[in-house]
């Protein structure tokens, strides 16, 4: 006796479902913009601007902009930092830095500033870096990615990353696939921001 096509199809679809389902589905969506900060011939930091989707924005605004005035007072900004940002340290702020291929794990955050633009919640902050650029050049790769996928970052293009004009450093920006291998077949790998720095 042969298995009926409908039942076989049901089984195959069912067995694919865990592959889809084991990974989380996103509840928060972010448009990410980034900027390289140079200080003379050194890389001084990486600035990030996260614009949230309508739903998450509304949830946070309902909590922290109760008067509905469309902006945050310094007290409210501090409350947001405590209640809806600081916990990201447990997630490395969704950031991973690689300097010439070597992971830089110590991520510190400076100048966190929440704001509201066109009804959307915006987080801005800076990750201080202190990188020299040797004559041979330097490659800085940055992954912006929530490993649990509760948060989904929109796909980035090179113009989302701004680079300052500099007399001493030339920077080429590209968005490339992460080099690391997937841990299981079918796993999605995030893109990386790739900054190739050269002395002029």
């Amino acid at each position: 006796m042969k298995i009926s096509p409908v039942r076989a199809l049901a089984l195959v679809l069912l067995s694919m479902q865990p592959v889809l389902a084991i990974s989380a589905h996103p509840h928060v969506f972010i448009d990410c913009r980034a900027a390289l900060i140079l200080d003379g011939d050194k890389v001084a930091g990486f600035h990030l601007v996260w614009t949230f989707d309508e739903m998450f924005s509304q949830m946070i605004l309902a909590d922290y902009d109760r008067a509905g005035k469309g902006s945050f007072s310094p007290t409210e900004a501090e409350e947001i930092r405590k209640g809806a940002f600081n916990n990201l340290r447990n997630y490395h702020y969704f950031l991973a830095f690689y300097v010439d291929g070597i992971p830089d794990k110590a991520i510190a955050i400076r100048d966190f500033r929440p704001s509201i633009h066109d009804g959307r919640l915006v987080y801005e902050f800076t990750v201080p870096l202190a990188l020299t650029v040797p004559p041979s050049g330097r490659e800085l790769r940055v992954t912006v990615y929530d490993d649990t996928y509760y948060t989904a970052f929109d796909k980035m293009v090179p113009r989302d990353v701004s680079v300052p004009d500099s007399d001493s450093i030339a920077t080429a920006v590209s968005i490339e696939k992460t080099k690391a291998k997937a841990t299981w077949p079918g796993q999605w790998m995030p893109d990386q921001i790739v900054l190739r720095l050269k002395r002029k």
Binding site: I3, L11, A21, E54, N87, N90
Partner: protein, 321 residues
């Protein structure tokens, strides 16, 4: 050959399918990622833009209803909510995996997959509405972080329900085996209690333990108890605009959509199991009984073990796993 492939696939599905847990919100929860969270699959990433435009649309519609009070837009909100429910439930959790594990270990009718799906959807809706309104009007304070804290506690409770349910199923299975009149195999068409010839009936019907209403209820509670963060967020947006009716309607429609997805997955589990059992009993009668017992005992044991482990991990912290 082909039946062996399908049997193996079914058993693998049983094991892989159970590993689910709703991840905490990284922004508003306290603590690190769930021990069981894992990177996304390409399928989910492909789905993400649609989920995003649906959530954005839901918020826009809520604002329009607030501004215009138009019943037409309320209808659109209801339809978009339904669609959101269908898509949203394709992600993890929402009871699909637990319900398919249950139905793989039971002999069920297709109509029971609908009952299970909609029972879960009902619990899901009631849970979201109770929690959101409770926190908004009674607890007050910061909604987003209170909601996360409460969700973690409810999730712990749902893991406990899964463990108890698994233990109960195992207990019944073992007890049923000890007393043959306890009928671990279903007897349809008015058959009496045979002590001989079980295998003939099994071969014909592919039957094993039937679905119990008490178990279905347990599954629905375990699977639906943790409120959906998406449905809860849209309800919050609506009530913060003073639109309680629209919010409750939206949650109800989201649950209706989720029920559709969950029922479909449950029906696939029932069909898949029937196919495998039928084929293996026709080819190898001696394999059919162990396969079915494996599914029954394995399903119950998995529910028990994962419920227990997840429950312990929930309260002792993710560092444990």
């Amino acid at each position: 050959m082909i039946h062996r492939f399908f049997s193996t696939l079914l058993l693998l599905t049983l094991v892989a399918g159970i590993a689910w847990a709703e991840s905490p919100n990284p922004f508003t929860s306290s603590g690190g990622p769930s021990a069981l969270s894992s990177p996304p699959s390409r399928g989910i990433v492909a789905l993400a833009p649609y989920l995003r435009s649906l959530t954005d649309r839901l918020v826009e519609l809520a604002r329009e209803i607030h501004d215009t009070r138009s019943p037409g837009i309320l209808v659109i909100l209801a339809l978009v909510s339904l669609l959101y429910g269908v898509f949203h439930a394709l992600g993890p959790g929402h009871g699909k995996t637990i319900v398919s594990t249950y139905f793989l270990s039971r002999d069920a009718k297709i109509s029971q997959s609908l009952a299970a799906g909609y029972l879960i959807a009902l619990v899901h809706a009631v849970s979201a509405i109770t929690m959101v309104l409770g926190i908004y009007y009674i607890v007050r304070g910061f909604f987003s972080s209170t909601f996360e804290d409460a969700s973690r506690i409810v999730q712990g409770a749902s893991f406990a329900v899964i463990a108890v349910l698994g233990a109960w199923m195992l207990f019944n299975r073992i007890r049923g085996k000890e007393h043959s009149h306890g009928s671990p195999f279903g007897h349809r068409q008015g058959e009496g209690h045979h002590h001989h010839g079980h295998e003939d009936h099994e071969r014909e019907q592919g039957l094993s333990v039937r679905v119990r209403n008490s178990e279905l209820f347990g599954i629905a509670v375990a699977a639906g108890l943790v409120p959906c963060p998406g449905a809860s967020a849209i309800l919050l947006v609506c009530i913060s605009l003073g639109l309680i009716f629209a919010g409750v309607l939206s949650v109800a429609m989201i649950s209706l959509g989720m029920g559709l997805t969950v029922s479909t997955v449950a029906a696939m589990a029932i069909l898949a199991k029937r196919g495998v059992v039928k084929v293996s009993s026709s080819r190898h009668a001696n394999l059919a009984v162990p396969l079915r017992r494996g599914l029954e005992i394995g399903g119950a044991a998995l529910l028990f073990l994962f419920g227990l482990v997840l429950f312990i991990a929930q309260f002792l912290g993710p560092g444990l796993l």
